[in-house]
Structures are given as structure tokens and as C-alpha cells.
Symmetry: C2
Subunit: 332 residues, 2 copies
DNA sequence: GAAAGGGCGGCAAGCCCTTGCCATGTGTTT
DNA sequence: AAACACATGGCAAGGGCTTGCCGCCCTTTC
């Protein structure tokens, strides 16, 4: 015996299938009494509407896709987690896809899912602006940790966060800072560098960008070596993973942190508090990024007139001071 | 202009829609030459089959759902990651759902998705065996980190791993070990305790189970306090998070690790190598769990005769020795 | 050269719902 | 009492695809 369909419910309740359909998807269109009867019959029969049949005509799927640029990066998991929880709260299903740091794969995956989801969450997308704008023309899209004019987005406040971080370093007496940059086409890396450079200028510090580096622990070694050649006393790594890699290499080279060199990262991952020395980092509630992004997407997906402007959410970030930053060494 | 359908392609290629359909889903059923022509037209038109229409008749969705018992637990992310990558390799889509440690929610989510996916990956399911067996009767199911008679599963080798861990502690001179247990209805917690108890007995050690504890850092404090009352010199925590919490509390209470007490965990999370002292832990390639689980599921989903037995994969685990375990203190 | 077989394409019946439009019945207004 | 508005339910046309079955034609076989 196969699963009951809308016909079985209609027969059981003595109504037309259209009425059953509306009892589920358009409740106020059906008399209270009728609806209750239908729901009761459906319950008894164990009827669940077939989502595909539903999607076929209604073009709504109650599913959203989250595309992350690199699923191996633990930083995204908080975002994914927040997104999943928020999606679930609205009875939406979350599909997870990995772009493997490739714009081509990202595009392929999006094309593949275009018909199966109501919208896309693009986390740290590597696609060029044009592609994104085109996509946003035909689908609901929300960017996470990237801003593109005209597309809704959610980011953590890099500007203010970087400013605080630079001011912190400046007030410790550092006069030069190196930013160990993340991937070349990472919007957030560009945005961090810009904020660091501007803030450094405002503090009278010199700022230098090095890299790009793949932001993993294993690439921290090269980054540290390169940074040491500059003589800078303050290092800001693109993220905590890279920063931890830097710390390791510095330890291996007997460079003391923070006595000789100060190091800071981004994301405040769990390990940032455990490594030695513990890591000063720019923190933020990443789960909220995912949550807010879904919220924005659901707003956009909902029928009704668009508000004129694409919303740009900027969530607060906060500086977490630990022991990897300290006073600049006294000049020799 | 709306998206092209199979009709447009059929017209363009001068064939019937059934032929177009087969050109995509049953290539060897169509002459090579015809197929090429169809694919070329489809390409030109930008035709992509509508997955919902497809699913409606074929009952295949090329989608699998991964249900995790608690999405806030970082341990799962490796598994999710492995699963996503493997699914993608077979052009399957992965849906992620969170059971929030609740059997009820887990069941609801499964019911909701039952029609939209080809199968379920249940990671650390909290459902009773009966429910799982019933589910496995109607759907393709693969269990991750749990074994149920008759259902395909993938686990890390707890038994041998725990044995090695206990032998390691025994050979360091410890004569008593405490297992700080994970959640009550966690299969893996039960399985670990059983392996620890048996191995301890074989080594002439006494073993004690305490808890259950929610396996997070914050619950490690209570676990540590409780464990200290027993006078045991070796502590095995349900996972690394709990172990790190234990380490923190011990440090706060000035109990030296490993001089006074040895501590070990499970999972070898990234932070295990960074905490102080670094943590001895039972490691395993968790991404492989996800990968293998998807593989098993795809095997099960594929048409064709079932092999008689439900496969039970046991992936190797390995003991990673770090500095949180050491010789037992000399008795006073 | 006739019969048998295989490869290939087409027909048409679904798969299970949503939704625009119409029909009916009831209550309200003038 | 006529005219109307509104609430409610039904009809039927899809939505875009898969697949069992049939039939055609070209090979092969004896």
C-alpha cells in the first residue's frame, strides 16, 4: 500500500482535492470546520503532501541552499549552524554545498540547484560581482561576509573591528603592522586590508600587506617567515588558523610572542583560547551571520513588494584581547 | 521568457520528448548520434531538467539527508564535510538537518523529508532501535557512529581504540580508570564504556563510569570534580571537549596533569593539540565516516538486488599520545 | 529469401499537486 | 423584495518529466 495522496484525503473528507490543497496551503480560504475535518482525515491516513508535486506547480520549495566557498574551513560551520537553525524554525530545509574555492564549481552548483531551491545563501562567494548581480536578478540571493551593491548581505563589522585592533596595537607602541592576507579574490580579505591600512594611517603606523596566503595552520609558517623579514613588530593574520600557524613558526624560531612580536587573528575560533600564547582576535557571533542571512533570504523569498534598497546588515564584532599581543619591544 | 522545457529541446532536435528524456537519464537507450544532437540543442537552449518534475515520476531525487543529533557539536562537522564531498562527487545534493538531541524532533524531520530525499544518513541517532528498523524498512538508511542489527552502518573502531587507550594507561602504572560518560542514550557512549570496562578488566584495572555528562567544555568542571572524589588516577572523557573542560578544572584546582592525574579524550579535535597540556586522544578520520556512509547509502539507493547482509563498516581509529597522560603517581 | 531479432524512437498515461475561475448559498443593504 | 457582497467549494487545466509498451526498420541467420 503506497502513501496516501491528496485524493485519498479528499475522498475521506468528502470534499474536492482543491479544498484539501487549500486546507494545507491557504487555511483562511477554507471554513474552519471543513479544515479541521480535512486535517483529521489527513492525520488518520498519515498523509503528507508530496513536496515535489507541490514545487512543480507552485514553484516554491521551502528549501534554501547555502554555498560555502570552502567547506573545510571550520569558520563556516558556525554560520552553517546558525543558518540551519533559523531555516528549521521556518520549516525550511537547508541544502549544503561546497564551492571548493572555485568560482567555476560555485557556478555549476548554483545552476544545478537553481530549480530546486527558493534562494541562495552565498558565504564568502568567489564569484565576480557581475555573475552575482545576474544571479540576483533571477533568484533570491543573500551574501554572507561579502557586500555587493544591490544584493542583500550580512557581514561582521570589519571596519570598526580592524580599527579597534589597530588602535590596540598602536597604543601598545607598535609603529608598523603587517597584514597576512587571505585568498586573492576574497572580499573579506580586501576589506580587512583596507580597514587596517586606513586605521594604521590614522594612527601614524605603517602598514604592509603580504600574501595572499591560504588561511590554514600549515601556511602560517611561510607567512611568519615572510613577515619577520619586514621587521614589523605587529602581525595581523587573515584568520585564527593562519595566526596559529604563525605562532607555531615563531615559537620554532624562538621569536617570543608577545615580547618580540605581537600576533592577532580573526574569528575567535575555539582553539584561539587554547593555543599558547592565547590569541588576541577579532570575534563576532558567526552563528548570527547565518541566522540573519536566512532571515533576509526569507524576507526576500516571501511574496509581496520588495523594499527599495537591498538590506546590508552589519553585525557587531568585538576585539578579544588575550596574550598574543603586548607592548612593542623597545627599539635597540 | 521562461526556462526551456523538455518540449523545447525535443522540437529543436526534431525528436519526441521521450527521446530527450532518455538522452539524459538513460543514454545507452538512444543512438549516439541522436543523443549528441539532443545534448547540443539542450546546451544551446540552456536547458536543465526540472528536478521536481523528475522526482515526481521517477521517485528519485538525487538528494540525501544527513541528520545529526546535535549540530552544535563540532565533531559532526568533519563527518558532514566528508559526506558533502562524497555526495557531490556523485552529483547528489546533501540536506542538513539537526535533531537537537531530541528523538521527537529527529522523527519529525525525517517524516518531513521522507518524500524529498533518496535516503537518510543518521549520525549518532537518538532514536530507539525499533523506530530505526521501521524506518529502514521503508527508506534507505545508513547509521553513523551507531550500530543496529540489520541496518548498514559506519563506525570508528571503539573497541580496539579503547583497548589501546586502556593498555596505554595500564602500562603507565594506573590501576583505576574513570570513564566520564556522554549522553544517556548515546550508543557510542555505551559502546565506549563497555570497551573500557572489558579492557580494564583484562588489564587488572578497576573501571568506573560516571555521568552522563553533556560533552561540552563547560560540563567538564563537574565531571572533573566528581572524578576526583574517586581517587582514580586516570580519566577518560567522552570526548575532547569534555576532556578540555576537565583539564581546565584540574588546572584551577591545582591538580597537575599528568603528574597527579592522566586525562584522555576522543575525536582528536583540532584544539586537542593546542590545549595545555596537549591531550592524549583516540583519533580517527571522521571525514571518512561521512564519506563511507554516503557510499553505503548510494549502494543501497542504487537499483539492483540487495546483498543479503547489511554492511557494517568499522573504520580504524588510532591512539594519539600527547602530554596529558603519564605515569601514575607513586602511591603515598 | 523469409523469418527472427535487436536497436531505436514515439505514444500516452501517469506522478501529485496548485490555482484561476466559476457556481452556489448565505447574509446584508436599500 | 431585489440587488449585491462575500464566503466557500468545485472544476479543470496545467506544471515538466519518466517509462511501459508498441512499431518500425535494418541486420542477421538458416
Amino acid at each position: 500500500m503506497s502513501r496516501p495522496t491528496i485524493f485519498d484525503v479528499a475522498r475521506g473528507a468528502g470534499v474536492a482535492i482543491s479544498t484539501v490543497s487549500r486546507a494545507f496551503s491557504n487555511p483562511q480560504r477554507v471554513a474552519e470546520e471543513t479544515r479541521e475535518r480535512i486535517l483529521r482525515v489527513a492525520e488518520e491516513l498519515g498523509y503528507v503532501p508530496n513536496p515535489h508535486a507541490r514545487a512543480l506547480t507552485s514553484r516554491r520549495t521551502e528549501t534554501i541552499a547555502m554555498v560555502v566557498s570552502d567547506i573545510t574551513n571550520p569558520h563556516f560551520f558556525e554560520i552553517i549552524r546558525g543558518a540551519e537553525m533559523r531555516a528549521k524554525a521556518s520549516r525550511f530545509t537547508l541544502v549544503l554545498v561546497n564551492a571548493e574555492e572555485s568560482a567555476r564549481i560555485e557556478m555549476e552548483q548554483i545552476a544545478r540547484l537553481a530549480r530546486s531551491v527558493d534562494g541562495f545563501l552565498l558565504a564568502a562567494s568567489r564569484l565576480p560581482d557581475e555573475d552575482l548581480l545576474q544571479l540576483a536578478g533571477t533568484h533570491s540571493v543573500v551574501m554572507v561576509n561579502r557586500q555587493v551593491q544591490g544584493i542583500p548581505s550580512v557581514i561582521l563589522d570589519q571596519k570598526e573591528g580592524c580599527r579597534q585592533l589597530v588602535v590596540h596595537l598602536a597604543s601598545l607602541g607598535h609603529s608598523s603592522v603587517v597584514y597576512l592576507s587571505g585568498p586573492r579574490n576574497s572580499w573579506i580579505a580586501a576589506s580587512r586590508w583596507q580597514a587596517i591600512r586606513d586605521s594604521a594611517a590614522a594612527c601614524g603606523m605603517s602598514a604592509l600587506r603580504m600574501g595572499p596566503y591560504t588561511p590554514t595552520v600549515s601556511h602560517g609558517g611561510a607567512a611568519a617567515d615572510a613577515a619577520l623579514t619586514t621587521g614589523a613588530t605587529a602581525l595581523i593574520a587573515h584568520n585564527d588558523l593562519l595566526a596559529i600557524g604563525v605562532l607555531r613558526r615563531l615559537a620554532a624560531r624562538s621569536v617570543r610572542v608577545p615580547e618580540d612580536v605581537s600576533v592577532a587573528g580573526f574569528d575567535n575560533i575555539f582553539a584561539a583560547d587554547l593555543c599558547s600564547p592565547s590569541l588576541t582576535t577579532l570575534s563576532g557571533v558567526h552563528a548570527d551571520l547565518g541566522r540573519s542571512a536566512v532571515e533576509l533570504l526569507l524576507d526576500g523569498v516571501a511574496p509581496g513588494p520588495r523594499t527599495g534598497e537591498a538590506p546590508r546588515l552589519v553585525l557587531p564584532s568585538q576585539l578579544v584581547l588575550r596574550s598574543s599581543t603586548g607592548p612593542a619591544p623597545v627599539a635597540v
